[in-house]
């Protein structure tokens, strides 16, 4: 167990909580956005996690590696919210005001023209649309492994999921992304001229 500062222990819980969590909130938001694909949903997810954690401030003070622990809490909260949504008959057709949140925007994006920034924007939308096609578990494992760099062994602990299951989830997710994201332009950067 790491040494715990007596100074911290005597401070108000809100101060301790803020000291611990403030450096993590942007990370949690980034992760939440990759899970949900929406700014509003990501903010809500992070808010839900913070609300849950505040009463556990004392416990947080004693956690050695806070970030992986928070990642697990966020992931569980995300899975819970997905399950609640799945029980609802409401199907979202069009998402928030930011076009990039909407996978349907991928089609108009193809008409953006040759300008590099427009192409980048079009590709971004294509990638978002492809990620949208993954189920929540696939999306989470791709985010945590391929983007955030957690090893599968670390994820085995964080997600409390067997290694074999994680490998197969990751494999299926990547396969799906490769099918959804065409060879052009995603392989262009790897080419050698001539």
């Amino acid at each position: 167990m790491p040494p715990v500062s007596p100074y911290r222990r005597t401070r108000p819980a809100a101060s301790n909580f803020e000291d611990l969590l403030r450096p993590q909130v942007e990370y949690l938001y980034r992760l939440a956005w990759r899970f949900t694909g929406s700014v509003a949903d990501a903010e809500d997810l992070v808010q839900d996690v913070l609300l849950k954690l505040y009463p556990r401030t004392q416990e947080l003070l004693e956690i050695e590696r806070l970030r992986p622990w928070l990642t697990r809490v966020l992931y569980r909260q995300f899975v819970d919210s997905v399950r609640k949504q799945a029980r609802s008959p409401i199907v979202a057709l069009v998402t928030g005001a930011e076009g990039e949140d909407n996978p349907l925007d991928a089609l108009p994006a193809m008409k953006d023209g040759p300008e590099e920034h427009a192409e980048r924007s079009g590709w971004r939308r294509l990638i978002l649309a492809a990620l949208e096609q993954l189920n929540s578990e696939q999306r989470a494992v791709v985010t945590m492994h391929d983007v955030e760099g957690y090893s599968l062994e670390e994820l085995e602990t964080i997600l409390e999921t067997p290694l074999g299951t994680l490998k197969s989830r990751l494999h299926r997710a990547r396969q799906r992304l490769r099918v959804l994201l065409p060879m052009e332009p995603f392989s262009a950067g790897e080419r050698v001229k001539g």
Binding site: R22, Q85, I90, V91, T95, K167, G189, E190
Partner: protein, 212 residues
């Protein structure tokens, strides 16, 4: 190594999880097989594209507000500030919605009645246009006699907690008529103390029934 074996080992190769023998074997195969090389390049490029996708910024002040909400003594209920804002937005939308038709639109609009055929499942779609995201809205349904929501047996009253996104939200109701009815389907949407009730007339088309 065959191309088929390469495809099976591609992910382990990308993750550097192969032992030195298999690693060498993959490397040699890549050097002599242009097709697998392209496949590998594509896989690397897709992985990089996903990794480089940067999230849009959260709303200004989000970090401060989120921490403040979490540490407030009265923060027992989720998103107090946001809920209050959304509640107000819904109330305003409801008022405007009546006059301007921005809150609810039927699809196909403006039909307010739907015909079902006896014993034949049919999906009725209602489109809810919400001016703002509404988190934790409650949707209640009351079905007329002899009409069932597929999968819910003879339950006449159903309720869900749901989040409405900004813009169009589709409610799909697979309905089946079990007998004659002249009733209405009543959908009630509520959020933050405000609510609105929508009524849809259900008519039964007997064409599917041979004895009628």
């Amino acid at each position: 190594m065959e191309c088929r074996d390469f495809a099976l080992q591609l992910d382990d190769w990308l993750d550097r999880r192969l032992d030195s023998v298999r690693q060498k074997s993959v490397q040699e195969h890549l050097e002599r097989c242009p097709s697998c090389r392209r496949q590998h390049e594509h896989a690397v490029a897709v992985q990089r594209a996903v990794r480089e996708l940067s999230p849009p910024a959260a709303h200004p002040g989000f970090v401060d507000q989120a921490l403040l909400r979490a540490t407030r003594p009265a923060a027992g209920s989720a998103h107090p500030a946001r809920r209050a804002v959304l509640g107000a937005a819904l109330a305003a939308t409801l008022v405007l919605g009546v006059g301007l038709g921005v809150f609810l639109a039927m699809q196909p609009a403006p039909v307010q009645a739907v015909a079902l055929t006896l014993e034949r499942p049919e999906t009725v779609r209602l489109m809810f246009n919400s001016a703002k995201p509404l988190k934790g809205a409650t949707l209640s349904l009351a079905l007329p006699a002899n009409v069932e929501l597929v999968g819910y047996g003879d339950q006449r009253e159903l309720s869900w907690q749901t989040d409405l996104r900004e813009g169009a939200n589709l409610l799909e109701l697979p309905l089946i008529a079990r007998g004659a009815t002249k009733g209405e389907l009543v959908a009630h949407l509520s959020h933050g103390g405000s609510g609105k009730t929508f009524r849809l007339k259900i008519e039964i088309d007997n064409a599917g029934r041979s004895d009628m």
